[in-house]
């Protein structure tokens, strides 16, 4: 760690395990120094280079997977009839879900004046942007003729062809594109004051110039702040319904169909809860190592982790409720199709996946009832990884087991991903992490301006 003009006592901050949301050593100046230094420092840590070196080939693998897919056809995946959707849709739902935590943290918690979210919101929003980028790749690529995927858009044309508005896939296009646009604007707008700070603190003129362009002339004038605050509030208001609507609409892809296991009214809330669940798990997965590597324990404190642990536990329970309801309704409906579907999930060809999902999403989080576990970064990290896997398995169970054994026993079959399914999936994870690396290195991962709002005023007095 470079120590140049650092006034913070690193030793103390790194070991901060207190109950505050900001370590007492931080004031306005030191927060700015700490965060902007990560970006503006001249010597990039070797660990960063190592990460990029590991991730770049994975991104290359993504490129190869996409090229091969477009060149040869969807047949390179494990899909068949009856299982027309596989990894692509599972991954789409998974990534979109992960994105949700970012929006929830930045919008809903903002509206609810949960100021503790200030230190993690930038990070979570960036995660949202990258996760949605990964997510949209899948529906685009999974169609048989990806070069014609734009036909899902309502583009005026001489043949008067129009999307078929009753199809949930068309709703998806609007839900996801709106979501991405709003998230991107929200993220960028929230970053403008910090970009101004970076512009001012950058030593290299070119760097200053680049940040300057993106800072859009931010001067920190109170008129700027007034408009900023208002715009931020409006965007938070806009984003809030999106948190609920996007995954609800994604869930309608399934709920609107008549396949047993898909045709379920519980899906919209169940998917939203699952999304937040998976998203918080991903925030934990990413912040725990990052705060460790960059010494951010004083800004993303144990208290933050504990709060996120609580949210994870709570949303986890909503998800478990969803599982229980699925099972209950399949029995209560007295529909032979639904009853068989559930029985098949629990005992059929994919039973191990179902029980692994129950372990990951219902059993593993029970440890978070203990405060010590919630305050232990290691335990949280492990649980968050398990939940991430579990949520992927949940989508696998929903998508695959329902299709593989639906109405016609004669058409029942088995589905498994091929090497190309996996390479594309792992490729997007690589892409996501690669983008996170770029983000950490080139943009302030914790909002300096917002941190200053939660630093007690008295700490800045002596500097004033």
């Amino acid at each position: 760690m470079s120590q140049q003009d650092q006034a913070v006592d690193i030793e103390k901050v790194d070991k901060y395990t207190g109950d505050g949301f900001v370590a007492p050593e931080y004031n306005n100046t030191t927060v700015t120094q700490k965060i902007s230094n990560i970006v503006l420092r001249a010597d990039t840590p070797w660990g960063w280079y190592l990460a990029v070196a590991v991730l770049l080939p994975v991104v290359g693998m993504l490129g190869i997977s996409i090229t091969w897919l477009v060149l040869i056809g969807t047949g390179v995946w494990g899909l068949n009839v009856p299982v027309g959707w596989g990894f692509a849709i599972i991954n789409f739902v998974w990534w979109i879900g992960i994105g949700h935590a970012g929006t929830l943290i930045s919008a809903i918690l903002h509206l609810m004046r949960q100021d503790w979210r200030n230190s993690i919101n930038r990070f979570a929003e960036a995660m949202t942007i990258f996760a949605v980028m990964c997510a949209v790749m899948f529906p685009l690529l999974h169609v048989g003729r990806p070069w014609l995927a734009y036909w899902l858009l309502p583009l005026p044309n001489t043949m008067s062809l129009w999307p078929q508005w009753r199809s949930p896939l068309v709703w998806d296009v609007f839900a996801v594109s709106t979501y991405f646009t709003v998230s991107l604007i929200f993220w960028y707008m929230g970053m403008i004051p910090d970009l101004g700070t970076l512009r001012d603190r950058a030593k290299h003129p070119v760097v200053a110039r680049i940040y300057g362009i993106f800072a859009m002339g931010w001067r920190g004038a109170s008129s700027h702040w007034a408009r900023y605050e208002k715009a931020y509030l409006i965007l938070a208001g806009l984003s809030t319904p999106l948190v609920l609507s996007v995954h609800s609409i994604v869930s309608l892809d399934f709920a609107v169909s008549l396949i047993p296991g898909w045709h379920t009214t519980v899906f919209p809330p169940y998917f939203v809860a699952g999304a937040i669940y998976a998203g918080f798990a991903m925030v934990l997965t990413l912040t725990i190592p990052v705060r460790h590597w960059f010494g951010l324990q004083g800004l993303i404190t144990t208290r933050h982790l504990e709060n996120m642990g609580k949210v994870t536990l709570a949303t986890g329970f909503i998800v478990v409720y969803g599982y229980a309801m699925e099972a209950f309704i399949s029995w209560y409906s007295a529909s032979p199709y639904e009853g068989f579907m559930m029985w098949n999930r629990m005992t059929g060809q994919y039973a191990p996946v179902y029980w692994a999902l129950i372990f990951c999403n219902a059993v593993s989080i029970q440890i978070l009832w203990w405060k010590r576990a919630r305050r232990s970064p290691l335990v949280l990290f492990i649980v968050s990884l398990i939940v991430g896997v579990g949520m992927w398995l949940e989508r696998f169970v929903i998508v695959v087991t329902s299709l593989a054994n639906d109405y016609m026993p004669s058409s029942w079959d088995y589905y498994a991903g091929t090497i190309w399914d996996w390479s594309l999936y792992i490729g997007t994870i690589g892409f996501f992490l690669f983008m996170m690396c770029l983000f950490i290195r080139f943009l302030p991962m914790i909002p300096m301006s917002e941190m200053k709002m939660i630093i007690p005023k008295h700490r800045n007095k002596k500097d004033a």
Binding site: I72, G73, T74, G75, G78, L79, N80, V81, P82, G84, W85, H142, V143, G144, R145, L148, A149, W151, L152, L161, W162, P163, Q164, R166, S167, P168, L169, V170, V173, D253, V256, S257, L258, I259, P336, Y337, F340, Q349, L403, D406, Y407, M408, P409, S410, S411, W412, D413, Y414
Partner: protein, 1006 residues
């Protein structure tokens, strides 16, 4: 052939040859081309052998390129350029001015399978045959066909067919062949032709027979042998036992009230099966229960006929003779050796005997071609004793031109070859090196023959060992004639000039009698004239009429009085089943004896019952598999009479215990790109002394597995689970005649479904036009023969995807036959259900397509708009019937020119990434609509036949206008047997089914 490139090749070769010390002065490129250097350059540069090309895993495209180069080479070396001989090959039934581009014409012809003809009509688009239909007037067809006739058009266009005359592996000309042949023949003059042998399959063709007679007259020492691997020798010998001569048996199945089949699959195999299936189905009308026949079957390998049985007994093939003897004895035939059997069997046998006796004169006993002669003789005697002869069974002179015991015939040939008596062997259309029983060692004996000539569609295993290979013309490319199962004389009329200058059997035999230049057309025509088939008519008029009709009406062979008399002595004592595990050889249901091994449609057609594709297997019952500790796809070694072969196991419920069935026709070494090395070669353990079945089989698990794929239950064989699950959903509905008479709505009451009228939502579709299409499939009539599947594939340009893609569950058939079992694993009941698109009125697929690529037509069809489809596959996911098919890759072959010719131009060839499915043959609907509009009338009932409906031998499929209350389809939909699948989902399917009504014997049912 591109002349520029040809010249380029020759010039390059010339330059090269000059460099290497060719004559300094050369007159012409031709002279230079004769030099050795040039020849070797050519050989290096352009491999001539198909073999060499095949050995490398080259692409089809490269293969064709090389084949093209070979043809160029043939032109370059032999003669500078050959002019296509011009001949008029199609006598226009309609004058040429009626050829309208885009409007197909139909020509009558015949499809000849193992020598026996079935009348067909061939659809021709601008001179290209594209689709085979049955000839509605032909007595063997009545408008239907079998799978082989439907698939024959693909064989004709097969790019792997042999395309040139080959002499010892090198391409040469037919003239060169004639030179060598004439030399060989002139050497035979002295020996009276004693060294000449001709081998053909079964011949029913009078004109070919006439030619062969001429040959034998000219060379009295010459011999003509016939051999088909799936031989009817047992029937021939059985007839000899019963009547003292070989006669043909013909059944009037529709006149029989009670039918007993002793291991005979008369509904789907053997001469006349198409007609028999139709006649049988005519008496299986659930709406006319009083007129229903009753079918008893005792069978070894489960067959489709067995699946139709009201009472089925599965026994080892060797045990059937004993049962036949006891039934015969019960019917008053003086014969001994009956087997008592256990109590159930006795009860069964006596019930059958009583039932047959009660219907004497209106019942029928049949058997299978693989049952020994004694059983055939017993069947004749039983029919005699029951007074069926002349009523349900008639006999005639054999339909074969010269019936012989073919096993003896081929054995004699092999012996003659072995002893060096044969100097010239001409094999026409047969592949004996592959398909003769292994103990004959045909290939080894063949080595002793000085000149061996093979004429065939493919450069196959026999061609490889022959000095000469001559490409043959396909039946759709050549003139010929043949008799059908009842002897009806049928014309084989070509639809197109031979694609690869192949010659017909007639022309090849003509060359042996010194008439090499004579055309098949003239040979057939002159023979007919000479035979006086025209009677008192003017020959030309008669000929034109006959060619137009495709057959001579009333030319069925006259029935002949034949009485089996006392056969006790003839059939002797019962030998009883051979000891040890039994092995049964059967022709494969799709590739037959190997003849169709390179036909992709047939290879990919799920075999009835097993639903296997692209492979054969050692079929055994669940109990035996259990004992051996093997599962599906485990490889076992089959050791039979000192020969061994490894085969993957497939468990077939209902297969008799301690018995293994293997299908012939696989394990081809030289079949073409598709057929080579598919499956295992069952001929390699077949013996001429027991070519059908025998005991003493050793089955040893090897511990290895070999992946073979079924299109149903891809990864599960849990019969109980599957069975009960399907019953839970009542997809198949079966009742019996008594219950049905008590409660006519029993079928419809099997499933509670909401009243479609009590719906909150208004009906989306008004159907206010004159037409709304619907289909009814009668499960009483369907016997699962698969003809609809192939007919649909041919009509709708459906791609073949290959074994790997079938393994991935991506087969493309638009109409599939679902198979369900009920009851005991060892003796289940089997049901078939053809499933095309249901054309739902509330179609789940339409709702979810984001781009509107599947939309509802005003006439009730779910139309697929291929060029709008982006391929989300949501429609397929949401289809409860799973009838949609997706082009995961570019399955359609857009490159092979010959395959392009064979496609139906009225149907889009689907590209990659596009969903497809059954359209109710919308192209046929449109043709009818245009015709009706031109004449300002409504489309008549029955005017539109879907491809599946038209081909169906059982007439199980009815299509028509549901808005017309008098249409046949509306009347069937009004039947109490009518039900839809999964109607509780409110999909309102337009394809519905008629529930199956069994007609069990009350005595046995109790």
């Amino acid at each position: 052939m591109n002349q520029t490139s040809e010249r380029h090749i020759t010039e390059a070769g010339a330059m090269n040859a000059r460099k290497n010390g060719a004559p300094e002065y050369w007159r012409s490129l031709d002279q230079l081309a004769e030099t050795e250097e040039f020849q070797s350059f050519m050989e290096k540069e352009f491999p001539q052998h198909v073999e060499e090309v095949k050995a490398n895993p080259v692409s089809r495209r490269k293969f064709l390129k090389l084949m093209g180069a070979s043809i160029a080479l043939a032109g370059a070396t032999a003669s500078a350029c050959t002019r296509q001989p011009s001949e008029k090959i199609i006598p226009y039934v309609l004058p040429p001015e009626e050829i309208v581009p885009g409007k197909p014409l139909y020509y009558a012809s015949a499809y000849v399978h193992d020598g026996v003809a079935n009348g067909i009509l061939v659809e021709s688009h601008m001179g290209r045959p594209t689709k085979v239909e049955g000839n509605p007037e032909h007595p063997a067809s009545l408008g239907s066909t079998d799978v082989f006739a439907q698939a024959s058009v693909l064989t004709m266009y097969d790019p792997d067919r042999s395309q040139s005359v080959i002499r010892r592996g090198r391409i040469t000309t037919y003239d060169a062949y004639l030179n060598e042949l004439n030399e060989a023949l002139s050497n035979q003059v002295e020996k009276q032709g004693g060294g000449i042998r001709v081998l053909t399959g079964t011949v029913t063709s009078p004109s070919l027979h006439g030619q062969l007679e001429t040959l034998l007259a000219r060379y009295p020492g010459a011999r003509w042998h016939q051999y088909d691997p799936v031989t009817l020798d047992n029937a021939r010998e059985g007839s000899r036992l019963a009547f003292g001569e070989i006669v043909s048996t013909r059944c009037d199945v529709d006149k029989a009230d009670v039918i007993l089949s002793l291991d005979g699959d008369f509904l789907t195999t053997g001469p006349g099966a198409v007609r028999y299936a139709r006649d049988f189905a005519a008496r299986r009308d659930g709406n006319d229960p009083d007129n229903m026949n009753r079918l008893y079957v005792i069978e070894s390998t489960p067959s489709l006929t067995g699946a139709q049985a009201d009472h089925l007994l599965n026994r080892r093939a060797g045990e059937i003779e004993g049962l036949a003897r006891s039934i015969a004895a019960g019917l008053g035939v003086s014969v001994s050796g009956g087997v008592e059997g256990d109590e159930d069997t006795q009860r069964w046998v006596s019930a059958v005997v009583d039932d047959l006796r009660a219907h004497a004169g209106a019942c029928l006993v049949v058997t299978g071609d693989h049952q020994p002669p004694a059983v055939h003789a017993l069947v004749h005697a039983m029919n005699d004793a029951l007074g069926n002869t002349g009523n349900t069974v008639t006999y005639s002179e054999s339909i074969e031109a010269a019936p012989v015991n073919q096993t003896e015939s081929i054995t004699t040939l092999v012996n003659d070859m072995g002893s060096g008596e044969v100097d010239l062997l001409v094999v026409i259309g047969a592949n004996p090196v592959y398909s003769t029983p292994a103990d004959l060692a045909f290939a080894a004996a063949l080595d002793n023959v000085a000149m061996r000539v093979h004429a065939g569609l493919y450069h196959d295993e026999t061609a490889e060992l022959c000095h000469w290979h001559l490409p043959m013309a396909h039946d759709l490319e050549a003139w010929s004639d043949a008799r059908s199962y009842d002897g009806t004389l049928t014309v084989v009329q070509p639809l197109i000039a031979p694609l690869y200058r192949g010659r017909s059997a007639h022309e090849i035999v003509a060359a042996l009698t010194g008439n090499a230049m004579k055309k098949g057309y003239d040979i057939v025509r002159e023979h007919w004239q000479a035979q006086g088939y025209h009677g008192s008519q003017d020959f030309e008029t008669f000929w034109q009429t006959t060619v137009h009709d495709g057959f001579i009406a009333g030319s069925a062979l006259p029935s002949k009085a034949a009485s089996a008399g006392d056969i006790a002595a003839a059939v002797g004592e019962a030998s009883g089943p051979e000891a040890g595990t039994e092995l049964i050889f059967r022709a494969d249901p799709t590739v037959w004896d190997g003849h169709y091994a390179n036909n992709g449609w047939l290879q990919e057609l799920p075999k009835p019952l097993t639903k296997l594709t692209w492979d054969n297997a050692a079929l055994m019952g669940p109990a035996m598999a259990n004992r051996l500790g093997v599962e599906n796809t485990d490889v076992v070694e089959l050791a039979y009479r000192d020969r061994r072969v490894n085969a993957p196991v497939w468990i077939l419920p209902g297969h008799p215990d301690e018995t293994v069935t293997v299908h012939l026709g696989y394990g081809r070494r030289r079949a073409g790109q598709l057929g080579t090395n598919a499956g295992f070669d069952a001929y390699s353990i077949r013996s001429s002394t027991g070519p059908d079945f025998g005991g003493g089989l050793q089955v040893t698990p090897t511990g290895e597995t070999f992946d073979i794929y079924s299109t149903q239950d891809h990864h599960a064989m849990e019969l109980e689970g599957m069975g009960s699950m399907s019953r839970d959903r009542n997809l198949i509905r079966v009742s019996d005649i008594e219950t049905f008479k008590d409660d006519p709505h029993v079928i419809q009451e099997m499933w509670e479904e909401p009243d479609p009228e009590r719906n909150l939502y208004p009906d989306e579709h008004a159907y206010d036009g004159p037409n709304a299409w619907g289909m009814v499939i009668d499960l009483n009539k369907c016997n699962g023969c698969n003809t609809c599947t192939i007919a649909c594939q041919s009509e709708n340009n459906i791609s073949v995807v290959g074994k790997e893609e079938v393994a991935n569950a991506r087969e493309m058939h638009w109409i599939r036959i679902d198979r369900y079992y009920r009851g005991d694993l060892d003796a289940p009941e089997t049901f078939h259900q053809p499933v095309p698109c249901m054309q739902c009125e509330n179609a789940p697929c339409e709702l979810v397509c984001p781009v509107g690529a599947t939309v509802h037509s005003k006439e009730g069809l779910n139309d697929m708009v291929y060029n709008r489809c982006v391929g989300t596959r949501y429609c397929s996911n949401n289809c409860p019937y799973k009838v949609r098919r997706f082009n995961f890759y570019l399955y359609a072959d857009f490159e092979t020119p010959s395959l392009q010719l064979g496609r139906n131009p009225d149907v889009t060839v689907r590209s990659r990434g596009v969903m497809e499915k059954c359209t109710y043959c919308v192209q046929r609907i449109n043709v009818a609509r245009i015709e009706a509009k031109k004449e300002d009338r409504d489309i008549a009932d029955g005017e539109i036949l879907t491809a599946c409906q038209q081909a169906c031998p059982s007439q199980a499929i009815t299509f028509g206008n549901t808005k017309d209350a008098d249409s046949k389809v509306s009347r069937l939909k009004a039947s109490p047997l009518n039900y839809g699948m999964l109607t509780d989902l409110l999909t309102k399917p337009r394809t519905t089914y008629l529930g199956r009504i069994r007609n069990p014997n009350p005595v046995l049912e109790a």
